[in-house]
Symmetry: D2
Subunit: 259 residues, 4 copies
């Protein structure tokens, strides 16, 4: 918020890697980040930079808010199902686990090798800042009213990678949604997408580390839709996606520098 207005005034296109322009509602922003938004004008103009959902808006944007790491995987996994009206919008649980790089580079005791190594824990249960970001993106991408998400992140004892295990109840009108149908829906939704891989098996972090890819697998089991999505939080969840966005904004090949 301190630098972006001046850059935009000079005609510079901006991909903002901070969280400043992700939440479109300044009140939601203030509730999540604990201080007032000081650049509300640009807040409205900013485009949420998830290319697989908002490619055309990104192409024409001057300011792109690069998505948070957790919301990237969750929004890509859930949007096709919400758009098709196949899941109960109030039933969504995003159980996620991230490598420690997601917590940044500042030296903190709980992130030291001697504390975080060999450990695993939940944090920010139901109150993490990415929860409203996921909800906003799902509402926008799916054109559904107010999907509600329970988001529970965990800290993995590794450097990088996010695995999200997502649960949702099929909507009454979903009829006989089964695994084959769920996978077919994902394949159709992401046909031709270079950075989305719909897999037959559940992805692992090794499938995506150091790549800009999202790997997704969906199945219906025990009466519930279970989607597993994996990304590298430092690439598709951060700088890789920023490059993808910049490529779109500048009319370059979307995958330049990412293959």
């Amino acid at each position: 918020m301190q630098h972006t207005p001046a850059l935009l005034d000079r005609g510079v296109k901006v991909v903002d890697l901070s969280a400043a322009y992700r939440l479109r509602d300044a009140k939601v922003y203030q509730a999540a980040y604990g201080h007032a938004h000081t650049d509300k004008g640009n807040l409205t103009a900013a485009v949420y930079g998830l290319p697989e959902l908002f490619r055309e808006q990104i192409r024409g944007a001057s300011l792109v808010a690069n998505p948070g790491c957790y919301p990237t995987g969750a929004a890509l996994a859930l949007s096709p199902f919400l758009r098709a009206g196949l899941i109960d919008t109030q039933s969504i649980i995003v159980n996620a686990a991230s490598g420690a790089s997601g917590a940044g580079r500042e030296a903190k005791s709980h992130l030291m090798l001697v504390e975080a190594g060999n450990n695993f824990s939940a944090y920010g249960i139901g109150v993490h800042r990415h929860q409203p970001e996921i909800e906003q993106t799902l509402a926008q991408a799916a054109g559904r009213e107010a999907p509600r998400v329970l988001f529970v992140p965990h800290l993995l004892p590794i450097e990088r990678g996010i695995l999200e295990t997502i649960y949702a109840t099929p909507a009454a009108q979903a009829g006989s949604l089964d695994t084959a149908g769920a996978q077919a829906l994902l394949r159709e939704a992401y046909k031709g997408e270079r950075f989305v891989v719909v897999r037959d098996d559940a992805p692992t972090l090794r499938d995506v580390q150091r790549t800009n890819a999202v790997h997704i697998n969906a199945r219906v089991v025990g009466g519930r839709l279970v989607i597993i999505a994996a990304i590298d939080n430092l690439v598709k969840g951060a700088s890789g996606q920023a490059i993808q966005n910049a490529n779109l904004m500048l009319g370059l090949n979307e995958a330049d520098g990412l293959s």
Copy 2:
């Protein structure tokens, strides 16, 4: 099943660490383990060895089936809520993560350091053998008909420890179940229990590694009950609990060798 009948015939008390006597229904056993049960007589007589739920039966038992690692934490976390009728029995999701020692000592490619290290993945989604074991224990402990559990385990890139993040929808009659009430229920249920710690914050694996303790925390958030339970899969989830059971069967101090 091969050795236990002979031991029992000689009057030896047995704590069985295998899965042979955990599932009371031979048909459920066959479905889960892929072969017929060959000692159905003792199957009926076996007591499920979760001392905090079935202490009196264990004291008098000749054959105790030592619980599976995942079911131990899940059953202790959920039983008080089911017993009190506070959660929808069809809404339960057990999202769990275990250190690699849970997969045994046999050398397998996916368990090598070069494969399992720096990785994280789900497996056995909704089809793991511990799912019917959890359901059986919850039914027995809570006196409720057929609770249904969706169980999704994950493999952590560490040696030991299980963290279970459990989701359930409060029952209609639960009224205003809130975090304070959920925690109070757990505290009351496990008052005086030496190996159950009800915490104000979410437990981490480091809190329980190399101990026989279960650490539990419950909260109500976003309209859902979220319980986090942590154990060491090799102690409370295996040999530690076996010693606890043996102590009870032999009339010794329950904590002998475990403190």
Copy 3:
């Protein structure tokens, strides 16, 4: 140095876990730690707390300087050979690797999981503070003049444990020192010692983690003596040895609280 004099004045026996009283020469202390020693009187009276080498002095001591982690293993590995005059006192190289807990609990960038994990590096090459401590202990234990040690520590991407790979050239008078002779010398030197295990094979960190034991193996190969010594830096290398020392000072069983 701030608290010990007052405690001693009150007649309290002290095991000092800091480095304050380890180096007997105040000038060497100042060179190593960068500030003057302010309690030189007690410096002279302090006993170096390595029980397997200085047990009788420890029993009668009021102030025991608990050894550094690296010097503990190195001094126990080398002392028998120096005492017997079997190695060239100027040829000693101590190549060591320690878990990150050796660097303390303060949050520092290079000790974070994201930096220290998956990494390995040497530090303090030939200038580490433990180098003069090792030299002093070897001189004292072996009654040899001025052994010179080249000490090169490394940082392991794990929590705990120190492995020292020690190289020395057999002395001219060592004659036909071979592996059998080297092992026999160690076995004789540590006969009856509860916390020293002379092994036939090279020890690993897992052999000693969470114990107060030192595991040692020596062999002569390629014309050189190679000794591997392993300890847990937080137990035999710190608090465990402090308890061992306190037990001796108080006339208790040396292993109380350590088995």
Copy 4:
């Protein structure tokens, strides 16, 4: 040895990633690998594929023996000093540590996460197959008679990377070899080399992981030359170097596919 002769007969250029053609003396090969060499003809013709030392021979070769992982770092670190006659050829110790991928992909108990994780140990002390390979390369690169190396490898609890901490005594004629002189010698030796980085500080594994680079630092301390060399055992220590060799053999840009 089974496939290479047929390939060469067809005029195919071969970079052999196995150890079959690394040791030029069939007797040394048999002693190290435990079976007779069956393609002695090509053994003589094979060129040792360390481009920074033998680039011109590689360019013209039909068969290149891709070096072992440990020998790559050790030979590059030591050759300049041996060539200049600055170190005692009988004083060399190569203390090395490698990630577990160096042991291959076969599932073995001691390489499982539950065994190799959190551990560190020495193996093959003075008898590892790479010891004669290092000695042969040093003899060839330096034109010195029979340098003798004591090689002690260790197993790191990580996936990839080799750090070698190398000790040697300056030769009598080395005069006043100091750190500045040692570093200047390395800089001169590798001037213009794209994949060798002579650093002012000691390299860590993170500096080289997933790259084809060797990072080296030398210093003289305590009367000894200490060189630290780091590579990625899977890249410069294996497939990356194979590509570098193939590029040279085919007249391509040496760095193609490696930047």
